[in-house]
Structure formats: structure tokens, C-alpha cells
């Protein structure tokens, strides 16, 4: 007889993932449990590591552009926008007004698509299957616009350094407007399904609370920060690509729990629609490509440019040595940094909440692991 059996120990180590459907990819979380209570977590990352930053050092500036789409693949357009803005900053290049407006439209559509995917999968994790189908249906409409615009639905490679490669297609404005008209009632529909749903509220309210101070401490940005009450959005704080021209609000909540993050993202979708409408109405005519030359060769220097991606602050720190290839590209991935707060949010919670909290962080493992 052994002196002690596993029954004597109060601690249980449980491995979750990397093939767990609720970890949204290949995240592996090692949970230390006391019964149902989580005592601590350890994330094992890197299952999707492809060395994007290394690849960047071996490609020219233009050639690296498609690779950034593969980090946060549900918001590929945001990734591309951030990268193009960073290189344009190094080049000191001006982007024509039309290109900027089209960029805003597509980026906001992408934000909607990203939040829709988040909503569908998050609701699925919590146990509501219906929203997934609804969300996918509307997301499809957004993806169709991408496909018509640039020929790809997910890894779009929609923007080029200096502007756009593709002119908008016939009926682009109308389709965007139709999308907005179609979409707003649908958000109400999702809210009808979830917002006052008792199970939804019971599972989300008070779960995974992160205060604004903790968010700053952990570098957590995006909807998670706004749900904690900090009114901070890079589109307003440091506008890029002409966001200062559009009128929109930054939704905030107070509690900083999972439910609030849900509310924030729902509001953000509405705001995104508002921005799309304004941008489409005021879409200027003109060229779509700035003067950057065929060979992109920024002067020696370095720049950090960040944008408000659907997940938070997405930054690119690019060091140029004056050649056609970046000397170093560092991506500041919002998912990676946000994921770090997982431990703080889960401690003391229940195992069932782990799924809710991973879902609410809205991580994409392609971006966490790069």
C-alpha cells in the first residue's frame, strides 16, 4: 500500500488543450485545481509558431505584406493596415484620401467580421449554439465584400504599402450600405438572444473580472480594457488613416467582467457600422496609390506604429537599415499580451469559467504564436 494516494492530495493538475475546441486553436493551458477551483494556470504556447518575424527579415517590404495576414487570420485586414502604416511612416509616404477611406471601410468591416466570429464561438463555448449560425451568416456577407474587393476572403492582402492595389468594384458603396442596413437589426437580434438570457448572464456576470489598473499593469488593451471603464481607443487617441474625420463613440462599461466585454463588443459592432456609413458616404474620388516607387527602400531608422485591431493594440516596430528588406520587424500582438492576464482572471474561479474567460479574451492563436 502506498502511503498516500492521489485522493489525499487536494491538488489536481489538469491539462486542457492543445486540441480542446474551446481554446480557440492550439492553446494549451495547464490548470492546477482544487476540486472545481482553479489555483493557477500555466499557458503553453508556440504550437502555431511560424517565425513571422524571422521571415520578415528575409523578405522585401512588399513581399512581407501577405504574411502579416496570417497572424490574426480573422482580422487580416487590420494586420495589413498596421503593417502598411508602419512602413509608410518609415518612408514618410502620404496615402491618398480615397485609399484611406477605403482602408477604413474595409478595416471596420473586418472588425465586424472578427467580432462576429468571436460572438459565435464564445456563445458556443457557453452553450448557446444558435448565435453561431446567425453570426456566420452575417459574417459571410462581410467576407463576400472582401472577396469581391480583393479576391480573397480571409487572408486578403488587401492593402499595399502606399495605398491600395485594387480599385473598388462596381457597386462597392451600395453593397457596403446594404450590409450596414442589413446588419444593425441583426445585432439587435443577437442581443435579444443573449443579453437578457438568464443562462448567459449567470455564466458571464462577475466572471473574469479585470480592473482598469490591472489591465494597464498587464498591458491589456482593446475591448477588455474598455470594459473595465478606461475610455481608450487608439482610433481616437492617436488617429490614423483618417479616423479623426469620422464621428463615433467609444463604448465603455464599468465592471470589467466577461459580460461587460460582451456588451462592449456588441456596441463596437454598431459603432463600426456607423463609421462605415460615414466613410462610404464621403468616399472621395482620386488616386488610390501614393508615391512610394516600385522598390520600397526606407531610410535608416525605426518606427513603432500601432492601430486598434479588433483585439487591442496591434503594433509594428520596424527597424530599417536602408536596404530593401526590413532589418527587424517586431509585431506587438494584442492576443499574446492579453492572454497573459488569463492567470489573474481565472485564479479562484471554477473550471467551467476557464472556457468563458479564454473566449472573452478573444485570442487568435495565429497571433499569439506568430
Amino acid at each position: 500500500m502506498p502511503d498516500s494516494t492521489f485522493l489525499d492530495s487536494t491538488e489536481l493538475v489538469l491539462n486542457m488543450g492543445p486540441q480542446h475546441p474551446s481554446t480557440h486553436g492550439v492553446l494549451r493551458v495547464i490548470l492546477k485545481l482544487d476540486g472545481e477551483k482553479v489555483l493557477g494556470t500555466d499557458c503553453v504556447l508556440g504550437y502555431l509558431h511560424r517565425g513571422v518575424e524571422k521571415i520578415a527579415e528575409n523578405r522585401t517590404y512588399a513581399q512581407f505584406n501577405p504574411y502579416v495576414d496570417r497572424m490574426d487570420y480573422v482580422a487580416a485586414i487590420s494586420n495589413g493596415l498596421g503593417y502598411c502604416l508602419a512602413v509608410e511612416k518609415l518612408l514618410n509616404a502620404e496615402v491618398p484620401a480615397r485609399a484611406q477611406a477605403v482602408r477604413v471601410i474595409l478595416t471596420e468591416l473586418n472588425r465586424v467580421a472578427s467580432h462576429l466570429l468571436w460572438l459565435g464561438t464564445h456563445a458556443l463555448d457557453i452553450g448557446a449554439i444558435t448565435p453561431l449560425f446567425y453570426c456566420m451568416r452575417e459574417r459571410e456577407a462581410a467576407l463576400t465584400i472582401f472577396e469581391k474587393y480583393c479576391g480573397a476572403r480571409l487572408t486578403t492582402h488587401a492593402f499595399r504599402i502606399g495605398g491600395l492595389q485594387y480599385e473598388t468594384y462596381e457597386g462597392f458603396e451600395q453593397e457596403c450600405k446594404d450590409f450596414c442596413d442589413m446588419f444593425l437589426p441583426k445585432v439587435d437580434e443577437y442581443e435579444e438572444l443573449l443579453t437578457a438570457n438568464r443562462i448567459w448572464m449567470a455564466r458571464l456576470q462577475g466572471v473574469g473580472v479585470l480592473s482598469a489598473e490591472e489591465c494597464k499593469e498587464y498591458g491589456v488593451t482593446g475591448p477588455v480594457l474598455r470594459a473595465a471603464g478606461e475610455k481608450w481607443d487608439l482610433r481616437k487617441a492617436q488617429p490614423y488613416s483618417g479616423y479623426e474625420k469620422y464621428d463615433f463613440d467609444i463604448p465603455t462599461c464599468q465592471n470589467g467582467d466577461t459580460y461587460d466585454r460582451y456588451m462592449i463588443r456588441m456596441q463596437e459592432m454598431r459603432q463600426a457600422v456607423r463609421i462605415i456609413r460615414q466613410a462610404v458616404d464621403a468616399l472621395p474620388a482620386g488616386p488610390i496609390m501614393g508615391k512610394v516607387g516600385k522598390v520600397i527602400k526606407p531610410p535608416v531608422g525605426e518606427a513603432y506604429v500601432s492601430i486598434e485591431a479588433p483585439k487591442g493594440e496591434l503594433g509594428y516596430y520596424i527597424v530599417s537599415d536602408g536596404s530593401t528588406q526590413p532589418y527587424r520587424v517586431r509585431v506587438r500582438p494584442p492576443s499574446f499580451v492579453n492572454l497573459q492576464a488569463l492567470d489573474r482572471m481565472i485564479r479562484g474561479g471554477l473550471v467551467a469559467d476557464v472556457v468563458a474567460i479564454i473566449g472573452t479574451l478573444d485570442i487568435v492563436l495565429g497571433e499569439v504564436d506568430r
Binding site: 524571422k54 528575409n58 531608422g301 513603432y304 500601432s306 503594433g315 537599415d321 530593401t324
Partner: protein
């Protein structure tokens, strides 16, 4: 190979000439072996091979200089972005000072840049943001290979994973880090992929063989 002098007080690492550029080409290892010039490779660069940064003279910069004296080697701004170059020892105190006194309460990123031909091989870069001032500042320090800079976890908790990533990718060990393990690469992996002498095709053959049961990952 030319260019090794770093003018004292120069705002930026002064290499990055043509030879440097060629070295970054795909299959070229970092050994100074002649690399077949690619069509796109620039010829020996004309003048400014250094970053054309201008001095940064905001009150904050003056404040830092007054407070830390010689530890602040430089305060400059490039494309409208301010950065401070400090001695390695001063980086953490400066960050702490900025956090406490100037509201730079959000550490955006920690990263490194490898310059294999410089005596201080790595740039360690901390990007800070202040919500109250809506301002960014970068802290840069130059460290040698094998140096153990102090960790920033005591100041900003978010540095934990970010420093782990720097350790993983560059092999820079942080002194006092609570949990310095690899984060993206497998634990037993050998080599640090983002170093410039780690070619893009290189991999830890032994690890691949033992763990994936294939000869090569390519």
C-alpha cells in the same frame, strides 16, 4: 568588413551599410563570406547610413537628463517618435521613474534587435505609453551578448511574457525574472531564432528528429 565605428553620442547604431544589408539576405550566414549580390541589394549606401534623428528637448527629456545625468546617453526623436537611450543599468530605474512620476503606466512592448557586428550586440527596446498624456516613449539600451539586464517585471507585470519571448528569440537572460523559460519555441530547442546568425533555414535537427520522427522539417 567596414563600418564598425559608432560615433560617441550618435543617436542610432551606425551600421546598416551595404555589407550589413547583404548579410540579412536569406541564406547568407552571418559569417563574413561574400554573398552573391541580389539584384535588389543596394550598392554601397550613399550618405546617411545613420538614423537622421533630431534631439528631443521636451520638458520630460530635460527632466530625465537632470535626474539621471550621465545614465541618459541620448534623447532623440525620429519620425515624431521620441526615444531615450540609457545605460543598461539605468533602463529599469528610468522606467520606474517614468511610471511613477510621469504616468507612463503601460508597457507596450519589450523587444530586442540584433546587431552582430557591434560590440554591444543587442538593442533592448522598451516601448512605454502614458494614458494620461497620450504619449509614447521608447527606452533603448545597448547590451553585450551574455549581459544579464535586469528584469522589468517589478515595474510592469506585462514584461513577464514579453521578456520570456526576448529570451526565447535572442537568448538574452533577464536577471531576476520570475519564470525565465522559453515561450514560443519548445523547451529543449537549441539556438535562438531571431539572432542574425541563425539562418532562416536552420533548425534544431536533433529536436526535430527526436520529437517529430522526421529527418527534417522542410
Amino acid at each position: 568588413m567596414p563600418d564598425e565605428q559608432k560615433p560617441e553620442g550618435s543617436p542610432a547604431p551606425s551600421e546598416g551599410g551595404g555589407s550589413e544589408a547583404q548579410q540579412a539576405k536569406p541564406p547568407a550566414p552571418a559569417t563574413p563570406k561574400p554573398v552573391p549580390p541580389k539584384p535588389a541589394a543596394p550598392p554601397a549606401p550613399k550618405p546617411p547610413a545613420v538614423m537622421m534623428a533630431t534631439p528631443w528637448t521636451a520638458p520630460l527629456a530635460e527632466d530625465l537628463k537632470a535626474r539621471f545625468g550621465d545614465a541618459i546617453k541620448d534623447t532623440s526623436t525620429y519620425v515624431g517618435q521620441n526615444f531615450v537611450v540609457t545605460t543598461p543599468e539605468a533602463a529599469i530605474p528610468v522606467m520606474e521613474y517614468l511610471k511613477v512620476e510621469a504616468d507612463f503606466d503601460y508597457l507596450v512592448d519589450v523587444t530586442a534587435v540584433d546587431w552582430p557586428k557591434r560590440p554591444e550586440r543587442f538593442d533592448l527596446v522598451y516601448i512605454l505609453y502614458s494614458f494620461a498624456r497620450n504619449e509614447r516613449v521608447r527606452i533603448k539600451t545597448y547590451i553585450k551578448d551574455g549581459d544579464k539586464p535586469k528584469t522589468a517585471v517589478g515595474v510592469h507585470l506585462t514584461a513577464n511574457w514579453l521578456e520570456r519571448e526576448v529570451f526565447d528569440m535572442f537568448g538574452i537572460e533577464f536577471d531576476g525574472h520570475p519564470d525565465l523559460r522559453r515561450i514560443l519555441m519548445p523547451d529543449e530547442w537549441e539556438g535562438h531564432p531571431l539572432r542574425k546568425d541563425y539562418s532562416i533555414l536552420k533548425q534544431d535537427q536533433r529536436w526535430v528528429r527526436e520529437n517529430l520522427a522526421i529527418e527534417s522539417g522542410q
